[in-house]
Symmetry: C2
Subunit: 225 residues, 2 copies
């Protein structure tokens, strides 16, 4: 697990403790000479995500920093933060988006990541977004990522590159990537469920998508024991 | 002071309590049918800024919301947040930038403002940045603002417009704009000094710039009593 990629550059991986960011972390370990991780405590429904992130970073032999983000609590109007809102409903402003949409979430995460990276002399940032299984989130698309990368580089006068190893992968392909990287068993420690249940409620949109990925790839989800 | 502009649109003004954001607020009151303000408690050296913002919003008959931003404290390595750092020095990473540079500050402020605006159904955001007297900050330039506007609109799937009434104005021209808007006397309540002194230490880069603006415009700074 301590082997690092041939590329001598340093990378910062956004690690939520879920399947996608975990797979992205091990992808980054293969590619970069040095990797550290950043997690956000942003008032998410369940702190279990942060525990998973800490455990996974340790398994990857990578540092993990947690930064508190308070402002989304002030904007609380979506299902990922407010337990009173139906997880399967629609966003209150844009009915084309799910209720789980947190406006500006990845914009904020990437901004804080870039500011943190700036102070550490890191220019490569890795985020596990996918525009295939993106649940309708506009801040998971390639066009957004390229625009964000440009905005950060101009705004900090510091050339930031945002890597998105999963951008064109669906859940099945993400499982296959984890197999290829030799880290399928690590997925046992990842957390996916919106309800905060371990190993998962099996019914929320995130659990359904995860199960579909494992089913289609033909391997058993190691989180299911 | 209660007169609103002819344009029926709603606008959100980022209000720090300084001269520039205050002038921008009254510019917005002339232009838009409804204006509210947003201030950030981000661990700045002096809370006096937030008090000024509250007072000025009241004078403008505009609502004022304060949102706490915690993450910059985690990134503390610059003079505006850390009292141990020399205000007149250089940034530790980019020697072309002053020590007062907070990487990603306006990117974060605009992101939170846009997310807040989203929840309020507001599409017009006003920020008092100037690329003339910008102290070397890259996130005060027009190129950055246009890129940020595009990133926010794509990332939230919500068309945001960022207005920068002062972008081409130097401090003298900003004073002249305040005179034209009939709000010169309001400047008595604005706070500028990096040292948190009232009416100002007269020596820090912000105080020096402010004095230059009033001197060149030929009017007395009303903050000086």
């Amino acid at each position: 697990m301590k082997k690092h990629g041939a590329n001598g550059a340093k990378a910062l991986v956004l690690l939520s403790g879920g399947q996608d960011s975990t797979t992205s972390l091990f992808w980054a370990k293969n590619k970069f000479g040095y990797v550290e991780t950043l997690s956000f405590d942003y008032g998410q429904r369940h702190k279990i995500e942060l525990k998973s992130a800490k455990k996974i970073a340790k398994l990857a032999d990578a540092g993990n920093t947690v930064i508190k983000i308070k402002e989304f609590e002030a904007l609380k109007n979506n299902a990922l933060l407010d337990k009173k809102i139906n997880l399967k409903g629609k966003d209150s402003v844009n009915k084309n988006l799910p209720a789980t949409f947190v406006p500006g979430r990845n914009i904020l995460f990437l901004t804080v990541a870039a500011a943190f990276a700036y102070t550490r002399g890191i220019k490569d940032i890795v985020i596990g977004v996918s525009q295939v299984d993106y649940s309708g989130y506009p801040d998971c698309r390639a066009g957004f990522i390229r625009s964000m990368e440009k905005t950060l580089s101009i705004g900090m006068e510091y050339p930031v590159k945002i890597h998105t190893p999963l951008i064109k992968l669906d859940k099945k392909q993400t499982v296959l990537l984890a197999i290829k990287l030799g880290v399928l068993e690590i997925m046992a420690y990842t957390h996916t469920c919106y309800e905060g249940k371990k190993p998962g409620c099996g019914k929320c949109p995130a659990c359904v998508l995860r199960r579909k990925g494992f089913d289609e790839s033909g391997v058993k989800d190691p989180a299911l024991g």
